[in-house]
Symmetry: C2
Subunit: 877 residues, 2 copies
């Protein structure tokens, strides 16, 4: 214990000034900061995240030393307030709240009004001269403590409350008087004893110890774990616990509570924004049970408090140089700030606030760029409801525009259903009276969320904005019957499975499907992107197979094509027959005959792409998938091929069977195709170079780059290279034109990475195919692993899906090895990545650190990649 003696586990808010938020958590750090700014903060103290870590490491206990430190701070708090926990005359009541270094809104547990017991409730009544308030607080406390700390089923309390209301013949809680509430308290204690076999703890210090444990435990409840995974929050020690004197917003008409943002979190507009409820506790606002009033109206109700609040919000935003999300309470005319933190915001708001603050001189360019999370942009880049289509739609009602974007889907009423239907490939809109943290997974699965109750800061609104997901909240006209699974609006009834459309930017709700349109990006967005471009070191190319995709990607700032998958072109209706003929031919002659039919198509494909990308590189990957992917399965298609080849349908079927592979991923594909059938690579090389020659003739600056897939051996590359070089030479001679072209070597087989020094002797350009590298390196077929990857994530075998974010520890090593070995042989080797990871910010960060030249990603992720590349450059230099 003597070792521990030196260590501080509990800090008063005053003492915590300057202590890292990794130790005292975000809330604790902010309290300390606000105290030091001289703001009106209820006194309190913070138990550190290190205590939480120790708690888990020591089998959910902590040593006496920590208990002593808590007791010392509690006594200090009692002295300062002149009140005592559990005191029968003027009791100290405290809140016990979680607070990790990163925000996990609503995911962990909170206990309010702690310190009430049979004695102190009388003290509270005397002191406040409000017996009903005291007993209502007490019954609320038992209910919350029972639920959160003692795990008593919530409905047992509801049931007990209802029985008192029934006996009295009233409907609303507010119709119960002090005597009724005493009866409720009595029944509640019975409920606790029946459910747990224990008496409700009467001792304030015992209550506190139990509440602290409960908050620590909630760090690892399911929803907190899921939230951390979804938001990629890792490496934290645990949550801190904040114990703070209670102030009451529900002490009558001069009391109230509210939540506000220093700027509009939905649009980013620089205008004070928020809501409040008079005579209410803070949880009432956040839970969305009553619909609150706009913050500006507080100026009429309590002008002094409003003026003070405005001064404080300005001070806080200036101090933190970021948009703040604040909670406040007014107790009998006195304003208290309960919390401030950087406010969550929509992507649009994030962009606008960053650029506005830059212009206001509040932040510099680097900070502005870092203020917008790359993945957030996704919401801006995806289609919005088409304005013309909206005019023809049937507007059912208008709720609050809680989170922008469009959502079209089938109605479901439960989070589980949203999840299940989504797994089945259906698009759903989750419709709830109000959402709670239990609904998280359903919200992830849904296209959008529609709630009947709750404001702009309700659970549904906050979480949806965080996810960049469309949400319409507080649509009061909705009548939802969750049991019958129906939704009625103005007499119209919708069932589960009916289609509905939401506009999260306006709050409109439409019947049926409404068409969506491409998003329009604001000038702020362009400015942010230009800033990002000025910092980033990685080039950003796009994966595109069609001029349409290429044009979209160019709009989004792509610097050329990093991956054009030629096989996609093979499937087009006018070519697939020739492709099948080629595959099923018996000999070189047969294949060449079929390839001659495909050549003009390929040439025109490449011509169009290179013309669209004039002056920019177009990287064309040669045929990659196993040939049988192109084979016909239906008799009529088999017959067509048989006719073309002039053989029997049986013969074609035999050939198809012969081409079957047990593990096509590891089979006859990629550069292996060209080794057995060089004529395929010849045809593709001829198509690329012919197109480039024709463009050059027309004065177009075409920049073809050819990419050889699946290289595991230098000898494989050499074979393919020779075919390309020879064919290119012949083709250029035919045209009498010289064109420059580059030859990329894909590194996507582990052996290719391991022998990159050898391969680099023949290769000047490596492009990492991290999809295949992940599949082979992990031994996971992406087509098959879907089922057990889910179990892997749930069991914590995986921290994240390795196909989404590159597995730095394992597969990343192969990339690093290949980069190092490639550079050993050829110091100036050019390196790119063209797997799905090229559009994932965490993977882009890795690509930057490992020193790649470019990333390539799908068109809609190009801006995300540009911003992520800038973040990486700013973070790692």
């Amino acid at each position: 214990m003597s070792e521990l003696g030196n260590k501080k586990y509990v800090y008063s808010f005053e003492e915590a000034k300057g202590v890292s938020k990794d130790i005292v958590g975000g809330k604790g750090a902010n309290m300390a900061e606000m105290v030091s700014l001289g703001l009106p903060i209820p006194a309190g103290f913070t138990i550190t995240t290190e205590t939480c870590d120790m708690y888990y490491k020591n089998n959910k206990t902590y040593p006496q030393e920590v208990k002593d430190q808590i007791e010392a701070q509690l006594q200090h708090l009692e002295e300062k307030s002149g009140k005592k926990l559990g005191d029968a005359n003027d009791p100290l009541l405290v809140s016990v709240r979680s607070g990790a270094a990163a925000s996990l809104p609503g995911m962990m547990d909170t206990v309010l009004n702690l310190g009430l017991n049979d004695a102190s409730v009388v003290g509270l009544a005397t002191k406040t001269e409000n017996e009903r308030f005291a007993w209502d607080s007490y019954r609320r406390f038992i209910q919350m403590f029972g639920d959160v700390v003692m795990e008593v089923p919530y409905h047992d309390f509801e049931h007990a409350l209802q029985s008192v209301k029934n006996k009295k013949g009233v409907k609303l809680d507010t119709e119960l008087d002090a005597e009724d509430l005493k009866e409720v308290v009595r029944l509640y204690k019975e409920v606790v004893q029946n459910a747990t076999g224990k008496l409700f703890p009467n001792n304030g210090r015992e209550q506190l110890a139990m509440a602290v444990d409960a908050v620590f435990n909630s760090w690892n409840n399911e929803r907190a774990i899921i939230y951390r995974r979804l938001n990629d929050i890792r490496g934290l020690l645990g949550t801190a616990v904040n114990v703070q004197s209670m102030v009451f917003g529900n002490m009558g008409e001069t009391s109230g509570t509210g939540v506000c943002f220093t700027r509009n979190p939905s649009t980013g507009e620089n205008k004070f924004y928020g809501e409040y409820l008079m005579n209410a506790q803070g949880e009432d606002v956040v839970a969305g049970v009553r619909t609150p009033a706009e913050i500006q109206t507080l100026n009429e109700v309590m002008p002094e408090c409003y003026t003070e609040l405005v001064a404080i919000y300005k001070k806080l935003e200036q101090h933190y140089a970021d948009m703040q999300d604040m909670e406040f309470t007014i107790q009998e005319g006195k304003l208290y700030i309960l919390q401030t933190r950087s406010g969550k915001r929509t992507a649009a708001a994030a962009v606008k606030i960053a650029i506005d603050m830059l212009h206001e001189g509040l932040i510099n360019e680097k900070t502005a760029v870092l203020r917008v999370q790359p993945n957030q942009l996704d919401a801006l880049l995806h289609p919005q409801l088409d304005n013309n289509a909206k005019k023809t739609g049937e507007t059912l009602t208008i709720g609050l525009p809680a989170s922008p974007g469009a959502a079209v889907g089938q109605i479901v009423f439960k989070a589980e259903d949203a999840h299940e239907w989504n797994e089945q490939g259906k698009k759903v809109v989750l419709v709830r009276v109000e959402t709670s943290p239990e609904d998280i997974q359903g919200m992830v699965a849904a296209q959008g969320i529609l709630t009947a109750r709750g404001g702009m800061t309700s659970h549904a609104a906050v979480v949806a904005r965080g996810m960049g997901k469309c949400c319409v909240a507080g649509a009061g006209e909705l009548v939802i019957d969750e049991k019958a699974k129906t939704l009625s609006i103005k007499g119209k009834t919708f069932k589960e499975g009916d289609e509905i459309t939401l506009d999260g930017s306006t709050g409109e709700v439409f019947a049926g499907k409404i068409a969506v349109a491409d998003p329009e990006l604001s000038g702020d967005f362009e400015e942010l992107m230009k800033l990002a471009d000025s910092f980033r070191k990685l080039w950003v190319r796009t994966n595109a197979d069609t001029p349409r995709d290429a044009i979209q990607a160019k709009k989004f700032g792509a610097e050329g094509i990093g991956l054009c998958r030629t096989e996609h072109m093979f499937f087009a209706e006018d070519r697939i027959l020739a492709v099948r003929e080629m595959i099923l031919a018996d000999d070189v002659q047969g294949r060449k005959k079929a390839l001659a039919k495909i050549l003009p198509f390929q040439k025109s494909d490449f011509y169009e792409l290179m013309k669209t990308l004039e002056g920019q590189p177009v990287t064309i990957r040669f045929l990659d998938p196993p040939l049988h992917e192109f084979l016909p399965t239906e008799d009529k298609d088999i017959q067509a091929v048989a006719n073309e080849l002039g053989v029997s349908i049986e013969k074609v079927k035999e050939k198809i069977n012969a081409l079957h592979e047990f593990n096509p991923m590891l089979g006859h594909r990629g550069c292996r195709l060209a080794i057995t059938y060089p004529e395929i690579a010849e045809m593709q090389a001829e198509a690329v170079i012919s197109a480039a020659c024709e463009l050059k003739k027309e004065g177009v600056d075409a920049r073809p780059e050819i990419m050889i897939p699946l290289v595991g051996f230098k000898t494989e590359l050499d074979f393919n290279k020779e075919v390309v070089v020879e064919t290119a030479k012949k083709t250029m001679e035919k045209y009498g034109i010289e064109v420059e072209y580059k030859l990329w070597t894909m590194i996507e087989v582990p052996r290719g990475a391991l022998t990159a020094d050898e391969i680099a002797k023949s290769a000047e350009f490596f492009s990492f195919g991290t999809n295949d590298l992940t599949q082979m390196g992990m031994g996971f077929s992406r087509d098959d692993a879907g089922k057990f990857i889910k179990a892997y994530l749930e069991d914590g075998i995986f921290e994240k899906d390795p196909f989404q974010s590159i597995d730095e520890e394992g597969i990343g090593q192969l990339v690093k090895i290949a980069v190092e070995k490639g550079r050993q042989t050829r110091a100036d080797i050019k390196l790119g990545i063209c797997g799905e990871h090229g559009g994932d910010p965490a993977s882009i960060d890795f690509c930057h650190r490992v020193g790649l030249t470019y990333v390539s990603c799908s068109p809609y992720r190009v801006p995300i990649a540009r911003l992520a590349a800038a973040h990486a450059a700013l973070k790692h230099g």
Copy 2:
């Protein structure tokens, strides 16, 4: 050119003394050595392998400097012999032979009698006083030079020769006189001109230059490349060329030529062994056209020569301390040694010679061990014809016992057919009048070779012994019609496809199939194995799933089981239904019910194995393959499962479809099974530990080791480990017995190797599964790659089949990385290998160098592995 000026490219035999055989080739080095020993060697010189290398690097040319050095040596040779190349009076004739650093018997080209032309043929006639001999030599020279150097079709010469014989009405070459042979020469020159458009070169120096080029070219002819690949001969610069004065064995009855071995190359017996032909050239003996006489009879024909030869062979064997394979020629009573080299020998001979020489004090223990090539032992370990079965067989004829072992198969008459039938999975015996180097691939493909002509040193005999393949040669009673594809023996006719059996140890040929029996190993073999054991550092375990295999492996010296594949047990008829029931069950209960049926079987399997291997480790790999490998495909089997599960056949089919995987290799298998279905691992752990407990109760020293397959993540291992540890604990508690067990972690997923430092935190034992590591690391499915791996070997993309010998450059790196990282975490980590590579000598050498603890291989390869491990230890310390 001045740089070259300093370098010596051509050495006289005298000068070459002490020069590395890497430079002057094996034959050149031996000539130099023999010259220095004072043996009677025809004078000559050697053009180095470096010249050959330069020749290929410089587009098949070499600089003037080399030509000058050749000319200088040629002049020296002319001076020494007092003869001149092409001289009309007393011409110098030379042989031009290949000679690389490693022996490639018969694979490269040779030209004899070079220097003959229209003038010198007269000189030769005058000098030898034998006009017929001179003209016969000339026509042979044109024929050989035309064939080998000028690529004139061989049959064109045959045709011309036949026309002269027809005109004269004779049948044999010997019936032609000098005048006839002059006519043949005239016709041959026409043949050359017609076929090549060029005159036959009349100038001796031009002939020499052309012959040297031809020898260099033959270094890369197809059969030489195949031979090098088959014999794993790599890293050589090329072939040297030896130019040597001709001596003639065909100058009458006091001339002759022969081939001899200092010991019997078939049995190893320490007795002079060989054959000769009087009045013949050396090629006549090797080609097997005439059947030669036993060497001992030379003592009667030419006693002085024989005595000299005996003295020389003893000197040579003593000098080289190894069994020698010599060629000699007697020219008019004078003996010349043309060649000596370490003699090829059968496995049995290799073992006997090594042990005999050790006993004779000629070599030490290390040398004795190194004298036997591990892969050679294969021939000793495989079954021989059963002696009792032989008695009942129908003996067709008895040929020469040219290479021991047994061969049972269908008759084919062409090498191509042997190859093709073998590809179709048929076992064939190749029946030829005589074999030639063109037949190599067919010989590889055949079970055994039967020839009608040729002796113990004929091409068929030498090559078959090198391959460890059964061969009966010179079975003179055979009448073979290669065109009609029939074989007649004493009036009995066999067609292509008929079955036949050879006994290579006795020369017997049987009709039909004869049963085979396990080999009996000689005392020499045991002695060699014990010597090997005294040197090796690697332990050798075996891969065995049955007590039968385990017993065989123990006999061969296995030190425990390194891999028991439990899935093989699942396929047994009495269990497969329960296995299917388990897989197709809908829930844990259903699976557990089925597993309960499998448990007693597994327990008894493990009981038997551990009992058999008492005191030795038995490593049991938990279920590895994808579950659908066990699924029924036939309706009756599906019905059986449906009955057992009490569901409809349609439901079972649905489930089977749902279990389909696109790439099962990369799918739901290995340790992944236990993560989704822990109950499978529980059952297996219970079976292993129960069996061990029961054995311990009986006083048997059971040593179970459990192996978790396909680990790519530490978290996967941890999950599996927990299941095993918990189940083992419970099981031991049930029995009230403690047993020790070890837990092995397979490293066979590239990511597992890359993160071995992490995995080693939970693992004390790594076993490398290099089959899967190769499949995943190279992206080659072994089931599918068969087709294109062949093309890869042919195109030189692969140097060797990576599934046979570990790919050190690529996959070997993963093993090295895992070993290093594993040791970083746990310095004393134990390491093994249990893939097919565990029985491959080259791979075992790698395992030794990389520092593994043991290799595990199939029972029949255990002695090979023991010897290979000793070789590795002796070579690398």
